[in-house]
Symmetry: C2
Subunit: 790 residues, 2 copies
């Protein structure tokens, strides 16, 4: 059956014919501009439809999705952002973008990663203490109570850098991030259990849990590489993850994929796919097959079935091993306690989705044209009867397919993911090779309908379609690359989210939404009104903790505190003005600008910026936040307040005056050098092999002032070669250059060197005496090196 | 006149009545689900309109904007991103977002700032050599030939960190960035002259051109602070800015605002507003008025009129001063050569816009309800006649208002910006206090129409509305905060771009587009088909230079090169597979992964990721790019290739194996410490005051191994206090800890300290002999400090 939406039915002509009298209603002073049938001066409906070549389907779809300013949208959809490091949120059915929630990457428009407070939040997500400014977020989940969304929290996993993010649905901002202590990648997350007791996060590509290096070989892979499934203990009231009471099931290195939690009858159990029971790890450069082929040699993979409710009790009683501070249920422990079983599943599966009743589990096997339906009742019977067909290489009992399967249906080539309808038994499956969506009945095992999707569908989502109560209103096809669909704007294509009306028996595509930020993985939709968003914070709130900031400053209590080399400004924002307006510091001082936004109107958003400095942040109504920086550069810098809503859009508040300081200028130049010269910092830390007795006169002064950070004798390094420098410059000039460095800045040859080395020599506060000694050393070392050359 | 769009006219009932027979055309196997008038099983048009409470205007607007998949949009709009650091691009009239062009901030989804090549592009925009990862982009401009868009280049200015960005309209990617050598903020940019000879960039808030510190006072402000207008020489063929042949007009510190280039009759001239001829610089904390008030005490400000064509000739003949390497025409030079004039303009103006004929210049004065229209002919006459009313404080001749003005029109409270229609004389002005758009005639000086906009309008844009040939199709109102308009998702509101149909005599708002990324300033719209986008690059292209990369690697020519501590991988991507798939390095090695994407299909986009490492990038079809990093952490890291379009969506390529190296582990821990302990690096560079003769035994070894970077005697520093460490630990343990550090990792008390100081002590490769000396020093120094305490 071909999908015929482009045919202009007679019926459209009827509509257009009768609507020639339609016009708009904006006022009537002026006459028509020429269109027949446009008495109020606007283009007629007929003319619009003719001009734009719309057909009947287009007009119906337009009416279903166009949302004028007096209406609100029915659903809010929250998306995986993929490598964008944010989570796009749009409204359904108008498909208009409302927000990009910042998660893994800095986002200047929200200020995320630009204040001290939000940077600390980012640092919580650093892995092994190393900076990490990207992510690959995949599967969002909404928190649940009794198996339905409770409107409190959302979560998402970072696949590439395994982390769990928690978002508060009051302000749609991040409240927590938990880097995984033992995984190296994840995929089967994040899914809440029916009362949000736990969040599931399963590995994708296995790696050694201890994070150590092992030579890559099949035996090492099987011995040290592991997958796993973590149940993160979640607090539905605070949105916090209790890492101490969380635990991980150790899995074989089978390359796990998606997971889902049981519901109702199956509550207490978890289901996780795997797609490389072949335990293949690639290696084309050594003549081995590509990864996909290596992982597809067997006919089936294994569905992992875990009993988390029983595991919780046993872990509470001490059944775990500690790996990197984290509780792990080993495979042996799980086997011994009947916590972990395997069932054959279709080749290289992607989605595993428990139905709204909890009685069925549907698995779509990427390399099989069938979706397989498992019966939870049958699975339980096999376990109760201890009816296993054997054990795998790691000793895990395997339930036979025939003992677990309800049945299978041919749904199309490359089935991926499933979502449920409000009608019992009805399921929607994305089919990526055929580029379509199949609607079928997983109880009666028959196909009902299909609709072609754009290229190339991955996940799909129906309204509340992963809960116990799907609403059956909308389905969205999440397509990866929108080739030939929208106006071309260069090689980067947006993704395409296709909105589908599923209220009738036939699915109807009614909107194509390009999203140019992110990659589509999973999306979740929640009815408007199920969550209660706030529009401001109590005055003085640190939004990363949602508590009163200790840097809160009352109006009239603004102050500047100087202590040692640190300046702390406790300031306020009120009615578009920052107090204090002007800030004066000395170069090299550490500066903290703590500002409290006393605005409490919805419009009281302010971006405070220091021109030409790497400092800015956006203050929400009531927020207290901090700019933290070292005033490395001297000069006069405009301080701007961007007051988005104010007619005056006032900007300049005053100037950041940074008084010149020679020592700080030196440090700035050195720090600059450290950035442009990769290895320089390392060099400075290298254990030196200097031995006291062999030192030349002046050498200790030369070293003490760090000259060797930039100079060598006989080679160019981070600065000019010092060999024979005493022949090129006289002692007087050298001494002046060493002790009064800045006075030479601007001289043509010094500027030339500055350009060449991208670095000016800093003033190192060298005493006259030390400078003399250094000059002596320059001569002695030149002599020594020259004599060696002879 | 109230805007009546929400009234349901009888006419709508007529439409709905006649359209009850309308239905869709998707297929016919299944019967209707209950709706009368829906013979093909879909909801009827009447039911949709009833259910969604749409009125006649809504239906017309939906038909005007809904763009089904067989149609393309008519225009592509390019937006300022404000603090988002990107440029959002959407299509008109469907108002769907196509791309966010990365500019000032890193953007992981495009890979911008994540490859060596794109990071180098970002570094070109660093100011004074300091990192700068944000911007506040304001005014995009399209390149022109003969006063109309030529579809080649776009530009935008960064207001807060004065920089000019150039975008190529073939791939819609950045080709150049030029940080301003003397400004500290800009606003009046970026505007092309009619044949793209120059790009105009004017300051906003003045600052000293020499970037030096001067105590803030009125006399210093007037003496050292300066505004300016730069004409950047532009090459219409290469898209490059020729900085050597660019120059800046020195302006008084009047806080300049927007600019525009003359056209036709006025070609060769530039016009720049100013809004603080009061030369006020704030200072509320000293009891002075707020900035806005201080800048509004006078009744008029000055329009700055500059003759750039004549200036070009004079600069070519050596008429300039060099400031920080940049050519500056001083105020005195400009006066002497008749290059620079002032004209009074309405109080605190924002927009200055030359009309399509070049004969009129319209200025909207924020604090005046009138827009003022200047006649270029009159201005020229006054100059030719040397008819001036006097000079300002800096000696610049002032043309009197009556000698320059064509007339003024009361357009509403708070007029801001202007755009032109295809009908001669018709102009659209944004009115922010009244929140509306006024359509008026600037030649006949009469108001024609207005339409209310959402809260709070700033700029506006009409199709080709700033060129010599506006098309008169669409107008977009750029509103800053969409309170109460879209579904609420927390305190952060999107902006709202309202699309207005201007084809008829009455303006009609037909779409509200929320944009949650960026702040609206200016937008420009270009007809589809006027530019020729590419969808791929020649194999081996470095997209930042558009030239063949020297790291290009042919298929089959992949290799790994080891030299010293550096590993270079020359690899390829082809058909979803990276060669080499596995990479083995040693901890501490510097790694360059140069990959060439041999894919040439539109879908051949690949994101290559190193799990749990701060490294990823997105390769476009044909691109060669580099991941550059130090392999700081040992262990096994999955190497993933995200192949967005492929059914297999293959991911794992192999593993990055990083073999443990004790020295590198030490360096990693020290580098980590440097990040968590702000001052530590500085400390390491501080000139030490150690004098040889006073050194204790073992002190030089203690210093040489950097122990003092973390430890003090008698205080906690970056690590534990070493006072009396010899009483807490025996010599044997100390020596083992110093020389065989890693073997103690994992011990409970070591772990506890690691938690406390967020740092483990690194192995410093201390010899046995040196360790003994260090232990001796620990004892001697303890003794010394204790004796001082007595």
């Amino acid at each position: 059956m071909k999908y015929l939406r482009k045919i202009n039915y007679l019926i459209l002509a009827v509509l257009i014919g009768f609507s020639m009298t339609l016009s708009s209603c904006g006022g009537g002073e002026q006459g028509a501009k020429g269109d027949i049938g446009a008495p109020f001066g606007d283009e007629s409906f007929k003319n619009i439809v003719d001009r734009r070549e719309l057909n009947a389907d287009d007009v119906l779809a337009a009416a279903k999705t166009y949302t004028p300013d007096n209406l609100s949208d029915e659903f809010v959809a929250m998306n995986s952002g993929g490598q964008a490091g944010n989570m796009p949120m749009y409204a359904v059915p108008s498909m208009r973008m409302m927000k990009y929630i910042p998660i893994c990457a800095r986002q200047p428009i929200a200020g995320y990663g630009y204040s001290m407070e939000t940077m600390k939040m980012m640092e919580k997500g650093f892995i092994d203490g190393a900076e990490l400014f990207w992510g690959d977020t995949h599967h969002p989940g909404y928190s649940e109570t009794n198996g339905v969304y409770n409107g409190k929290w959302a979560t998402v996993n970072d696949k590439a850098n395994p982390r769990v993010y928690i978002i508060n649905l009051q302000d749609w901002e991040l409240v927590d991030v938990i880097p995984h202590p033992i995984f190296r990648s994840d995929h089967g997350g994040n899914f809440f259990t029916p009362n949000s007791e736990y969040i599931m996060e399963a590995t994708q590509y296995p790696a050694p849990f201890d994070h150590k290096y092992y030579p890559l070989s099949q035996s090492n892979f099987e011995k040290y590489w592991r997958g796993g499934l973590t149940y993160w203990k979640f607090d539905n009231e605070t949105g916090k993850v209790d890492t101490d009471n969380s635990f991980t099931f150790e899995f074989p290195p089978y390359t796990q994929d998606l997971s889902d939690a049981g519901k109702l009858a199956s509550d207490g159990w978890g289901f996780t796919n795997s797609f490389c029971t072949e335990m293949y790890y690639g290696g084309m450069e050594s003549g081995r097959p590509p990864f996909e082929a290596g992982c597809s040699s067997k006919d089936v993979d294994y569905l992992h079935v875990t009993n988390w409710k029983k595991a919780v009790e046993l872990v509470a009683n001490g059944m775990y091993e500690i790996v990197n501070g984290h509780k792990v249920i080993t495979i042996d422990m799980a086997i011994k306690n009947d916590l972990f079983f395997l069932i054959p599943e279709p080749k290289s599966p992607h989605g595993v989705d428990v139905d709204p009743t909890g009685d069925y589990i549907v698995v779509a096997g990427k390399l099989d044209s069938h979706a397989w339906v498992y019966s939870f009742e049958k699975i339980m019977k096999a376990i109760d009867d201890r009816n296993f067909e054997g054990v795998d290489k790691y000793g895990i009992p395997i339930i036979s397919l025939e003992d677990a399967l309800h049945g299978s249906v041919e749904v199309g080539l490359g089935p991926l993911h499933n979502q449920y309808d409000d009608e019992l038994g009805v399921i929607f499956t994305s089919i990526y090779v055929d580029s379509r969506i199949t609607k079928w009945d997983y109880i009666k095992l028959e196909v009902l309908d299909y609709v072609p999707s754009h290229y190339n569908i991955g996940h799909l989502v129906s309204s509340h379609g992963d809960t116990q109560e799907p609403t059956g209103d909308y389905l969205i096809a999440l397509n990866k690359l929108s080739i030939d669909r929208f106006n071309p704007v260069g090689p980067l294509h947006p993704q395409n989210h296709q909105l589908i009306d599923i209220k009738g028996p036939k699915m109807k595509i009614i909107y194509d939404l390009p999203i140019p930020m992110g990659e589509p993985h999973y999306t979740i939709m929640m009815k408007k009104g199920m969550f209660t968003p706030i529009s401001k914070y109590d005055v003085g709130t640190d939004i990363t903790t949602r508590e009163k900031s200790k840097y809160y400053t009352d109006l009239g209590a603004e102050k500047v505190s100087n202590k040692g080399n640190t300046v702390k400004i406790f300031g306020t924002i009120k009615d578009g003005a920052v107090t204090p307006a002007n800030i004066k510091v000395t170069q090299g001082q550490k500066v903290f600008i703590h500002l409290t936004n006393h605005g409490q109107a919805e419009v009281d958003h302010y971006v405070y910026e220091i021109s030409s400095y790497d400092k800015m942040y956006r203050w929400r109504p009531g927020e207290t936040a901090t700019l933290e920086f070292v005033a490395e550069k001297s000069g006069m810098y405009p301080l701007l307040l961007d007051e988005m809503h104010h007619p005056g859009n006032r900007k300049l508040q005053g100037y950041l005056s940074v008084e010149f300081n020679a020592d700080a200028e030196s440090q700035r130049l050195l720090a600059f050098a450290a950035r442009v010269q990769d290895d320089m910092m390392m060099q400075a830390f290298k254990p030196s092999s200097i031995e006291l007795e062999n030192m030349l006169d002046g050498e200790i002064e030369y070293l003490n002032h760090g000259c060797n950070a930039c100079h060598r004798f006989g080679e160019e390094y981070n600065g000019p070669d010092l060999l024979m420098v005493d022949k090129r410059r006289n002692d007087e000039w050298l001494k002046s250059w060493i002790t009064d460095t800045e006075s030479h800045y601007g001289e043509a040859d010094i500027e030339a060197m500055r350009q060449k080395y991208k670095l000016a020599m800093p003033n190192q506060n060298v005493s006259d005496e030390a400078a003399d000694k250094i000059i002596t050393f320059l001569k002695l070392e030149t002599e020594r090196v020259m004599s060696e050359l002879k």
